[in-house]
């Protein structure tokens, strides 16, 4: 059946004109609906939905002769065009036509203002949501920082030294107690072989300790003599076990200073014996 209707037909979703196209005519909808949208960052922001008898595309007549929005058929739509020469002639001959155009433009301006207000409201809402999220993030961060400080305190100021070494025995990390036991600043220790801090005869023992550690997942324990800066070797107990850190095997060593412990034991024992003596004297 041939198309006998007036105007030009557009199928559902078909573009009537695009944003940026040359504007040389206005459109009148004969049947169906047309959506006006603004293209922004590759997405279409709907501006208005027009129906039978509505005018659109009149903006180019007064302003920049380029389309500032795009028009798309909603369902089957039929439109007729009126080129700007015709519009100019109508303006001259018929003042009521000018009134009609101004009325249409005012309606479009109102729709756009409402749309702008809605966008501003959305933006305000979005900003409030962002501020709330920021607040929550800040609170979470403070909790995390407190937690981190607590665990850092537990790690660095533990009564034993913690040393992480790789499979060659190079120091990867150490806590402050460990650094104090080795008598060197922490940052100077990173990258040095841990074995170099033991006495000559104990260095071989440390290598065996590391080999044992590699063989057994349960780890290895040894008593070693540690060289200190004071020149007097100190007896320490080292317990090492393998551990996966970021996909890499490291050996974590717990180093306990026997001298300190021994001094404390002696102080404790002497305190006990003093108490016992005082108790006996009182009995007498």
């Amino acid at each position: 059946m041939p198309d006998k209707d007036l105007g030009k037909a557009f199928s559902d979703g078909e573009i009537i004109f695009r944003q940026g196209d040359v504007a040389d005519c206005l459109y009148i909808i004969l049947s169906g609906k047309v959506a006006l949208c603004r293209e922004k960052d590759g997405t279409e922001v709907p501006l208005a939905e027009l129906g039978k008898g509505d005018l659109f595309g009149e903006g180019g007549f007064f302003m920049d002769p380029k389309r500032t929005e795009c028009a798309r058929a909603l369902g089957e739509a039929r439109v007729i065009t009126a080129d700007y020469k015709f519009v100019l002639k109508k303006f001259r001959d018929d003042p009521s036509f000018a009134f009609h155009i101004i009325e249409t433009m005012a309606q479009h301006a109102r729709v756009r203002t409402e749309e702008l207000e809605k966008t501003l409201e959305d933006q305000t809402l979005h900003q409030e949501e962002l501020a709330a999220q920021n607040r929550e993030l800040r609170e979470d961060r403070q909790i995390l920082e407190k937690s981190r400080d607590r665990y850092a305190d537990l790690y660095d100021f533990a009564p034993v030294g913690y040393i992480d070494v790789d499979e060659t025995g190079t120091i990867l990390g150490i806590n402050l107690t460990g650094a104090a036991m080795l008598g060197t600043e922490r940052q100077d220790l990173l990258g040095l072989p841990f074995a170099s801090f033991f006495t000559q005869e104990n260095q071989e023992v440390y290598r065996d300790h590391l080999l044992e550690c590699k063989r057994s997942s349960e780890g290895a324990i040894n008593e070693m003599m540690l060289n200190t800066k004071k020149g007097v070797p100190t007896k320490v107990q080292i317990f090492s076990y393998p551990k996966q850190v970021s996909g890499q095997v490291v050996y974590r060593t717990v180093m306990t200073d026997f001298t300190t412990w021994k001094q404390r034991d002696e102080e404790w024992e002497s305190a006990l014996s003093t108490d016992e003596m005082q108790g006996k004297a009182k009995k007498k």
Binding site: P2, D3, K4, G7, K8, S31, K90, D94
Partner: protein, 458 residues
């Protein structure tokens, strides 16, 4: 939203409040054809915008939903592109039930052959409509009448349709009084004559005291021919066919597709049955009909009049005539003239006033422009007469148009032919385009070439 009534400058606006339309004013429109409906529609639309309560009574005894001549205003029924656009911008969208066919282009026939003229745009802007509900004996939709559609629009705006024939319209103590056949009589503030030139009731207005004299007219011929949708599509192909044939007194003729019917219009001076018969004997005409078809037995035919000039005394205090009973463009655009005169008269009556002075100042210039344009139209149709009588010129026109339609040259002749027979542009505009040196030079060149390469030339 209410708008303030257009103020107008104090020097231009009627200072007599008695001769202005105010809240509660009553208007009688005699005739519910396009002119009467357009007048009522625009007047009521402006009144609504200004929140003014104006009462409009439209007197129309005919029922446009009845097929046949009783409900028909007897015209070719072509609404050309710029009128379709104007109506659309005024919010009058022609429904598909009223548009019988969106015309895809024109085929121009002369004795030398035929050429198809493509429209300037790829969208269909020319509508063929039925003035009544259909030809005699046709069973058609009640919504099919263009005149019925316009009258319904006016009614929707608030006009009261009085289905009675007016027997008397006189001025009593300066105010119009309308009496109907049933004897009912009413007084109004403004009387609008919107009867077509074919109405026998035009003499009613001769008693309005303005010395109204109807415009000069000539007889035309219209035949409705039932061919069926398939034959129409096959033979006419959605095109309007225009004939510029060397038949004495015939200016031009047209075949217009309208659904399953074809409307044949002959325009000229003193058209009679003999001319109609000679038209249908021409092979160029018969090529537009199925083989074996004859015009014998066609039921719906008429010889209506068309306006040639302008009427005298078409306005006065509280009285104005609109439509072709005042003025119409020569041989075309009767509906467009009704639109233009009715809208201007409504704007004048509403914005400035209803005195003779108001209509003289604001309405007459628009109608005079049509009368003046018709003078150019007479020259244009004299030229077309010259062309259709001269085989050399016909050949030149055909060669020039064919070349343009093939894309070899700027479409000067095509656009002149298009605008001469569609009514899209004024006769004046066509006249000055014909005088363009390039146009004349090309026509001369093509005429000489047509003569040199003619098989009949020595």
């Amino acid at each position: 939203m209410a708008i303030p009534r257009p103020p107008g400058s104090p020097t231009r606006r009627n200072q007599n409040p008695e001769l202005r339309l105010n809240g509660g004013s009553r208007v009688a429109v005699i005739g519910g054809g396009p002119a009467g409906s357009f007048f009522s529609y625009f007047l009521l639309m402006m009144a609504k915008q200004a929140e003014l309560d104006i009462l409009v009574d439209v007197y129309e005894p005919r029922d446009f939903s009845q097929p046949g001549q009783s409900g028909c205003n007897k015209c070719g029924g072509i609404i050309y592109g710029s009128l379709v656009q104007s109506l659309a911008t005024d919010g009058i969208i022609l429904p598909s039930s009223v548009v019988q066919e969106g015309i895809a282009g024109y085929t121009f026939h002369i004795d030398e052959g035929s050429v198809r003229i493509k429209p300037p745009s790829d969208e269909k802007r020319i509508a063929s409509v039925r003035r009544g509900a259909g030809p005699c004996g046709a069973a058609v939709s009640l919504l099919a009448s263009f005149d019925g559609f316009l009258l319904t629009l006016a009614e929707e705006k608030g006009a009261r349709i009085v289905r009675e024939r007016v027997t008397e319209a006189v001025m009593i103590e300066g105010k119009p009084r309308v009496t109907t056949k049933s004897g009912h009589s009413e007084e109004y503030d403004l009387l609008v004559g919107a009867l077509g030139v074919n109405s026998s009731d035009l003499k009613l207005f001769e008693r309005c005291g303005t010395g109204y004299t109807p415009p000069a007219t000539t007889r035309t011929h219209i035949t409705e021919i039932l061919l069926g949708n398939d034959a129409i599509e096959k033979c006419l192909g959605g095109m309007m066919h225009v004939f510029l044939l060397d038949i004495p007194r015939l200016e031009f003729a047209a075949i217009i597709p309208k659904g399953e019917y074809a409307t044949v219009c002959l325009l000229g001076r003193g058209i009679d049955q003999e001319m109609v018969d000679s038209f249908f004997r021409r092979p160029e005409v018969m090529s537009c009909f199925p083989s074996g078809w004859t015009p014998a037995g066609t039921q719906c035919r008429c010889f209506p009049s068309v306006t040639l000039g302008g009427a005298e005394g078409a306005y006065g205090d509280r009285f104005v005539m609109v439509g072709d009973c005042y003025v119409s463009r020569l041989y075309k655009d009767g509906i467009g003239s009704a639109y233009r005169t009715a809208k201007t008269a409504a704007q004048t009556a509403f914005m400035t006033g209803i005195s003779r002075r108001d209509f003289h100042r604001h309405y007459r210039p628009v109608c005079n422009a049509v009368v003046n344009d018709n003078r150019f139209g007479k020259v244009v149709f004299t030229a077309t007469n010259l062309i259709k009588r001269s085989p050399f010129l016909r050949r030149g026109v055909m060669r020039m148009t064919n070349g343009e339609q093939a894309g070899f040259a700027t479409p000067r002749m095509s656009s002149v032919l298009w605008d001469t027979f569609t009514g899209n542009e004024s006769h004046r505009n066509v006249f000055f385009r014909v005088l363009h040196p390039v146009f004349l030079a090309r026509l001369l060149y093509e005429t000489v070439m047509g003569w040199v390469f003619s098989p009949k030339s020595p």
